[in-house]
Amino acid sequence: MTLWEKLRPYGMVAPAILVFSVFFIYPIFYMIYLSMFDWNFISPTKNFVGLQNFVDLFKDPDFMQVLKNSLVYMLLTVSLTIGISLLFAVWLNRTGVFYGFVQGAIFSPHIISLVSISLLWSWLMDPEYGLLNWAIGLFGFEKLPWLSHPSTSLISLVIVAVWKGIGFNTLVFIAGLQSIPKDIYEAANLDQSRPWKTFARLTFPMLSPTVFFLVIINMISSFQVFETIAIMTQGGPVNSTNTLVYYIYDYGFRFFKIGYASAAGVVLLVIVGLLTLLYFKLLSNRIHYR
């Protein structure tokens, strides 16, 4: 093996690894470092404050509200998305042009910019002239304030997230359903198994790895929510929709409290990191499972 042949693989991975190191791996450590300083970005000196930023963070009732919002948003989004998608997947798991069309239709929001979705739903949720209030009016309900009142603002954002995410999750479930061997169902049929029993005893257990993965992926992505909040509510009203990423953005770019924002970033990092660990744990379990 010549020297060139020994060095070649390193040369080939180098550009990618360089990009990842500079823009993904290093920034994580840089953020942890910054979280221990008091710095306003403009001043030439950074003051080391140790863990004070974290102490301040957890004393700040606003931040506690943000954590609570993030958690509620995550729980509602994930449970609704997964539940409805599973139902839809079993329902729509058929071939044929019409079913293909329906699948495409419910998937379409997934490839559309969140900007568009946010603007569109702001309009749909307009308290005076929005289509949504008209639609619930057809069923005899009073007009709802949607995004403009703290009692309904967070759930409104959840509705948008679920609407956007259902198609994608349904199709992943369908992919999971199709990987289940058909002969299992034939055997179940011969054993006179009733449809609900087949689902409970065969389909769902076989699908459980997919369920776990989608739960975790959706959890991670719901902690990252930003666009809908930035465009639809700016965290309001009265902080009712402020979540982690928006909070970091706010403190970093409006108040220039870099260290404080970084500390909030570290909290998000810990949450995402734990979920990722869980993900890989399940990934290795899945190999045993199959």
Partner: protein, 299 residues
């Protein structure tokens, strides 16, 4: 069509075997199918109506948007809404920026992921496990997590408000490497050996044999990457303040500031400008796009 025929055929067989209960069962069966069909149509409505509403609004006058209950078809479609949206900001600049950034990102990603994926798939070298571990970690880091430190980096290098600042962080893709590595691994070893016996240099093996073989995967990835960066709002919002470097999604979001909060007709017209190209691409490449995104989910 075929599916429908099969269903009918199955129905017939079932119908004959069911004997005297057939009439009753047939009625129940029809009812189930009708309910199913209504359900499916409702489902499509839930996802199609908002878009229809967007199109309808984009053709209304402002007073027409303030009619309640709403009207679906505007009496005189107002096409000027589109030109007004377009002229509410430097939209040509936004558009060019969006194209330049998405295309440059894609080109750079192709240049970096193909050799990296090939090396990870085909060579055994010291530290390859560690380096691939870095790729897997990157795969799990969302850009929403590290935007603050990257902002400081780009600011130190004077790359804020530049195209480069929006391109370089995405010059490679962990997802792309992961996807392509799988594809390269599936190519039989014999093909590469045959090429070695044909005295082909390594770069020739990659370019003439491996890359053509994984073309479907590359196309899938390209669709994924292009759509993701065309749609991106977060990164350009954070990394730019200057119109010269901003992209279409930011321009659309800014219409509200320029035209006022309640100009939904103009906003929806602008929104349509952003959505339509993607929906058209989706219409033609639905299967591949769905595969790209769903695979990203399953991994």
């Amino acid at each position: 069509m075929k599916e429908a025929n099969r269903t009918i055929a199955e129905g017939r067989v079932w119908f004959q075997s069911a004997g005297k209960e057939a009439w009753m069962a047939k009625g129940a069966n029809m009812a189930i199918r009708a309910v199913n069909l209504i359900g499916l149509l409702l489902l499509v409505l839930i996802f199609a109506l908002p878009f229809a509403w967007m199109i309808s609004t984009s053709l209304k006058t402002m007073p027409e948007t303030m009619v309640f209950p709403p009207e679906w078809i505007p009496k005189n479609p107002v096409w000027q809404n589109f030109s007004e949206a377009w002229s509410s900001g430097p939209f040509l600049q936004y558009f060019v920026n969006s194209v330049v950034i998405a295309v440059c990102i894609l080109a750079l990603q192709m240049l970096t992921i193909i050799p990296a994926a090939y090396a990870f798939a085909r060579y055994q070298f010291k530290g390859s496990g560690l380096l691939f571990g870095m790729v897997m970690i990157t795969l799990m880091i969302p850009s929403q997590l590290i935007f603050l430190p990257v902002y400081l980096e780009l600011s130190a290098w004077k790359l804020l408000n530049t195209h480069l600042g929006l391109i370089l962080p995405f010059a490679s893709s962990a997802f792309g490497i992961f996807l392509l590595r799988q594809a390269f691994k599936q190519v039989p070893e014999e093909l590469i050996e045959a090429a070695r016996l044909d005295n082909a240099k390594e770069w020739k093996v990659i370019l003439n044999i491996m890359v053509p073989l994984v073309r479907p995967v590359l196309i899938t990835f390209a669709l994924f990457s292009f759509i993701a960066h065309w749609n991106d709002y977060f990164w350009p919002l954070v990394m730019t303040t200057d119109e010269t470097a901003r992209t279409l999604p930011l321009g659309i979001a800014k219409i509200r500031e320029v035209e006022g909060v309640a100009t939904w007709n103009i906003l929806m017209a602008g929104n349509l400008i952003l959505v339509l190209p993607i929906l058209i691409v989706f219409f033609f490449a639905q299967r591949q796009i769905i595969r790209a995104f769903v695979y990203n989910g399953v991994k």
